[in-house]
Subunit: 392 residues, 2 copies
């Protein structure tokens, strides 16, 4: 055996995440490792919490990054808030609602499913009916921005309904954080998790979370121990909790936290409203290009995420061959469909650093050239011009 | 709020981990991010598994890094192997045996504790007695190298005893991997977890694990679902499993995996036996220096880990002030005591890249200067010379 250093190609990442990482973030991550109990590291953690509060629009004291990917952030929300026997209303309109259901079941809870078609927003009417039919429900869980379809749901309305029925709210904001308006306090979301590799344009591996006082009260008054030691908020509070002495819990992923800190500094420099506006503007240009070509969006116009654009594959096109050609000839990654959408859609991400004019025009040009070369039924040669016009 | 980029100081890390990271690894981590389903990334993952098999001395197919720190690796072993009602014999001779007990309880299992004093190896006689007294036990769990005390236990003998009594073996090798001989196949260890921030000198955040066929058979024949979705081996097998199609499970921490790959390439270049010998040699020099000063080791000589040197605080010395002065005046981090050892010992790590002559002499010189400046009851001025002699 003789394996040598790994040198990845330089891709443009326009799939569902990871998105292109800002070079500033890659550089920050390679700074010298310090100890996880070093006072300078502890000071950086305090800044991180403040920066995350800015990104989440919250004053929640318990706002921090979980030392693992978004799916562990999801699990942290469920294992802490759901006890055996608890009833949880779970909205499903894509892949990730299904994963929430799995989480409820593994906590010994009872999921009550509210199903919507993949590609549309969660229906507030269905949610209200489920809340009325299940007055003993403890939690309402939904995905704010479905990464598998590109649909955004009305988190504010869903949360208000939940609180009218005395339910806590768990919200998946993996793809919305920093890309679409997200107001944790105004909307009264109780347990919120996200990811670093989407609109924060950081490397993957961490899951920012934030918990309201209502959520913390629920955790501290549990009858049973949290089933996960690694994700037990009672223990993590002692580590990430405010001021004073930190209890050792686990060794934090120091350098990845440098990266997240830098990405949040960049977000603060741009201003979060400006980040939302930039995502919207680039989406509109990409949409103009796709529409000119004749590619159809999966999601109705008023429910589309600007950062994740799902379009149907034109008839007769070998979608995997197109993605492979984009990757091999253009070093450009776009996403395939997941679950029920596999083989039917492409998912084109414009997330964080990757949400820019260069990427929009590059992607449209490459896709146009490939599809017309394959005699796909599209209007070729008009996409880039339409996007360029949209920018003017 | 205006928070700026974080620029850490350059420390020398001689605590219980993280250890100094090889600059090659920091550079590797900052290479361009690719997608987690990109064929070149999948190829890198295959190399990673092969490199980890080399480090663990195993042919186990299921050998991979968990996308979270060592405590999540520990939890993965327990949640997959322990079902409600299962009896687990847990050896405790430091902090981490206690964490294993917590894990067993949170899985609904019954821990049977085998207690040894902190600072000595696990007693095979006590383990044998516990196995005889508990013929219904399913698992024996122990820590190979106790990071809280610096004691190494006889994993080969403990494992042989477990198998004589039809028990599976869970072994914590967080601090032993790459620093002390570890033979997963020869010793028939079934579920083994480690960390990246100790003798691999990689950044923290990942937990290499390896599972024997016996362990996998136990997982696939479970009566109940694994309580953790994120750590369920049945799902992770579909992602990290050999060849063919990868099922999406979670977004891998791409750049941290670049770092681990590089650290394993470095280990392969050095040769694992050479790495073990280097850790031993530097330990002997540090020991010569400590003994010349009059600092006493906590662990009996034949049970000492070369990579983690625990010594008692001399009478009348303010141990926290010494650590603070080392950090502030020398940029040198050494470790405090954990749990029952807090305030009583220092833990000086010589792990991975940090296990070298420069660090040994630097640490001895700095500690000697500080302690003699504080009028501590030590023989001052002789430590560095003793270590230098040991190197000859």
């Amino acid at each position: 055996m003789s394996i040598t250093s790994f040198h990845p190609p330089v891709r443009t990442l326009m799939g569902p995440g990871p998105s292109d990482v800002n070079p500033r973030i890659l550089e920050a991550m390679s700074r010298p490792t310090v100890g996880h109990l070093d006072p300078v590291f502890v000071g950086m953690m305090d800044e991180m919490k403040e920066l995350l509060r800015y990104a989440f629009n919250t004053a929640n004291e318990l706002t921090m990054p979980v030392s693992a990917p978004g799916s562990a952030g999801m699990e942290m929300c469920f294992v802490n808030l759901v006890e055996p026997g608890d009833k949880v209303i779970v909205c499903q309109n894509g892949v990730f609602g299904g994963r929430m259901k799995e989480n409820v079941e593994r906590c010994g809870g009872t999921p009550v499913m509210v199903e919507d078609d993949w590609g549309v927003a969660v229906s507030p009417e269905k949610v209200e009916a489920a809340l009325k039919a299940n007055p003993d429900a403890k939690v309402l869980a939904f995905v704010h921005a479905e990464t598998s379809t590109g649909a955004i749901s009305d988190a504010k309305t869903l949360s208000a309904l939940a609180h009218e029925h005395d339910c806590l709210v768990i919200a998946d904001t993996v793809t919305s954080l920093a890309g679409s308006p997200l107001m944790v306090d105004d909307w009264q979301l109780d347990a919120v998790y996200s990811g670093t590799q989407k609109c924060l344009s950081c490397v993957p591996g961490l899951s920012p979370v934030t918990f309201s006082q209502r959520a913390i009260d629920s955790v501290t008054s549990r009858k049973s121990k949290v089933q996960s030691w690694f994700l037990d908020l009672n223990l993590i509070l002692g580590y990430w909790g405010g001021g004073g002495k930190r209890a050792y819990h686990h060794t934090a992923p120091i350098n990845t936290l440098y990266a997240l800190h830098e990405s949040l500094v960049i977000l603060q420099e741009e201003g979060i409203e400006n980040s939302w506006a930039r995502h919207q503007k680039n989406h509109e240009a990409l949409r103009a290009g796709f529409e000119a070509m004749g590619l159809d969006f999966v999601v109705p116009e008023d429910q589309r995420l600007p950062q994740l654009n799902a379009v149907s594959i034109p008839d007769g096109v070998d979608e995997a061959a197109v993605r492979a050609a984009l990757l091999n000839e253009y070093n450009l990654e776009i996403g395939a469909g997941l679950g029920a959408m596999a083989g039917k859609i492409w998912r084109v991400g414009l997330m964080g650093y990757a949400s820019n004019q260069t990427n929009v025009l590059f992607c449209l040009g490459a896709l146009d050239a490939l599809l017309s070369g394959m005699s796909a039924p599209i209007n070729s040669g008009v996409a880039v011009e339409a996007a360029r016009t949209a920018y003017q």
